[in-house]
């Protein structure tokens, strides 16, 4: 009951995906332990998912309050206040070359994680968070003699400290604070700028959450489990200002380097909720990459736009448009990726995504026929 009351008294906090600004949730930290989103959900995030986002198709006559109260790790059974475990699984059915005789079907176990949050005080001012899990071997290792990385790895372990009111400090191993974070780690605004599924880094981040803006600075040393020459050390910043309750505008930047490369990226970000459950957001940026071995540099751009339209509670129409151009000269290829599909929360702790993806590459002397793929994803959380 206390949890339900909390939800209705504080409707303007929390976020699972950037799209959920359309439910009044502008910042990430009320739903996630990590202030940039992603990773383990806290009690409030679990309750929002179950009570506000999930369809009522298969939940009988249960109210949002009741679903929220059952959203804990053991359902209604409360765990001791200082410990919050969780499990996450994401699996993907992928069909490439859709509609052709060369179509290939694959099932990919993308994520099988156990996470644990240890609360060091009842006010949750100091929290230890860790996520450990299975990661599939990247496909490139199937055709090389390189030693394969371990499939069982830590994805994050950090200490979060509420230093002062609205001010958070994060120390440890985590994702870089850059851009608008969403779960598609293959997206151009994640995979192509070294902020993808396995690009976590050791470092320190400071976050200030004001009433109408938030700002984060992240200083990182790279992944210390990698060889020293490979570690991508640098810094990133993220700023987002709420022009209105339902409209934000901001900027983000990141610099990283190791012995072989140097990367500078910066982007404009914006999110707009135009009705309850209906939103669009975009991130448009420049990427400057220098290959230290050859002393060559390239300057290109990327763009990511997503629209999420709730048809009814738990069932959403999803559109994504992405662009990438590695170099700004006219001969460089432009990659466009357009996907349409659905994002569904049919049952508590369950998410389905279905997307038909069109990849289009356009360039002088190098244009190729469109590639189509079908992606059906299941996400289960305990």
């Amino acid at each position: 009951m206390k949890l339900a009351l909390f939800i209705f008294l504080l409707p303007l906090f929390g976020q699972a995906y950037p799209d959920f600004i359309s439910y009044g949730y502008r910042t990430c930290i009320t739903c996630h332990y990590n202030g940039q989103g992603g990773g383990a959900l806290n009690d409030y995030g679990r309750a929002v998912w179950a009570g506000e986002l999930t369809a009522r198709t298969f939940t009988g006559s249960k109210t949002g309050d009741e679903l929220g109260e059952e959203s804990g790790f053991l359902g209604k059974t409360e765990l001791p206040w200082y410990i919050r475990p969780g499990f996450k699984y994401r699996g993907l059915f992928l069909q490439t070359d859709v509609g052709s005789k060369n179509a290939v079907n694959r099932w990919i176990n993308m994520q099988s994680d156990a996470n644990l949050a240890v609360l060091l005080d009842k006010r949750q001012e100091k929290i230890l968070v860790a996520t450990y899990g299975y990661t599939p071997t990247p496909r490139r290792f199937s055709s090389t003699n390189e030693p394969k990385p371990s499939n069982w790895t830590s994805h994050e372990y950090y200490f979060r400290w509420l230093v002062e009111k609205k001010q958070y400090l994060y120390v440890g191993f985590m994702d870089k604070f850059y851009g608008l974070k969403h779960p598609d780690h293959t997206a151009f605004n994640r995979a192509l700028i070294r902020n993808s599924q396995n690009d976590q880094t050791h470092g320190v981040a400071y976050q200030y959450l004001a009433d109408n803006y938030d700002i984060t600075a992240h200083l990182f040393l790279g992944n210390l489990s990698q060889d020293k020459d490979l570690r991508q050390a640098g810094f990133s910043t993220l700023y987002e200002y709420a022009l209105e309750k339902n409209l934000t505008l901001g900027g983000t930047a990141m610099y990283l380097a190791n012995d072989y490369l140097e990367q500078k990226v910066g982007a404009v970000i914006s999110r707009l909720a135009f009705a309850r459950g209906k939103s669009i957001f975009f991130e448009v940026g420049l990427k400057d990459e220098k290959n230290k071995t050859t002393s060559t540099s390239t300057l290109g751009y990327y763009g990511y736009m997503q629209g999420l339209i709730a048809v009814e509670r738990g069932y959403n129409f999803l559109t994504t448009l992405q662009m990438y151009k590695a170099e700004l000269n006219s001969s460089s290829a432009v990659q466009n990726r357009m996907s349409v599909g659905g994002l569904f929360f049919p049952y508590p702790r369950t998410e389905f995504r279905f997307e038909l993806v069109n990849d289009r590459i356009s360039a002088p002397e190098n244009s190729s026929p469109d590639q189509w793929s079908l992606q059906a994803q299941v996400h289960l959380a305990l």
């Binding site: 009705a275 736009m305 356009s362 002088p364 002397e365 244009s367 469109d370």
Partner: protein, 152 residues
């Protein structure tokens, strides 16, 4: 009345010459440009619209073995008529029929037709985003556009 700015991407067949043989092959068109339009109500739930868009950009002819696959500039005029069903207060969808006239550098002018499904979201009171998915010409390939529109 509406006025907007759109981003367009589609594939359509264009003529190429390979080993002295002339034939049609797919080419990717990418463009940007303004549009104006008009919408009227049929019933509170249904409305119709007519849009005119002028856009210009580049066309990349798909790579063929032994053929030159150049990039060309082009400009295109799109005239479309649509019927929209208002699903929710802010969201409408419906079919859109297109007539297209285009001029490609070094190639003859040509005419083509297309069909789209339009999805329109009212972002603000007078501003909407129109997302169109369909196909143009006989390419059998996806065509799409995103147009930001202001209503007057």
């Amino acid at each position: 009345m509406t006025a907007g700015l759109g981003l367009f991407s589609w594939q359509e067949k264009v003529p190429v010459i390979l080993n002295s043989n002339k034939f049609d092959t797919n080419a990717t068109f990418s463009s940007l440009g303004p549009s104006i339009g008009f919408q009227g109500l049929i019933t509170p739930r249904y409305r119709y619209g007519v849009d005119f868009a002028y856009h210009s950009g580049v066309v990349d002819i798909l790579k063929l073995d032994g053929a030159v696959s150049p990039r060309r500039n082009f400009k295109s005029y799109w005239l479309s008529g649509k019927l929209l069903y208002r699903w929710t207060k802010t969201f409408a969808l419906g079919p859109d029929i297109l007539y297209s006239q285009k001029s490609i550098q070094d190639l003859p002018d040509s005419t083509s037709y297309g069909g789209f499904l339009n999805l329109e979201y009212d972002l603000f009171t007078e501003v909407k985003l129109i997302q169109a998915l369909g196909s143009v010409g006989d390419s059998g390939s996806l065509a799409y556009s995103f147009t930001l529109v202001r209503t007057f």
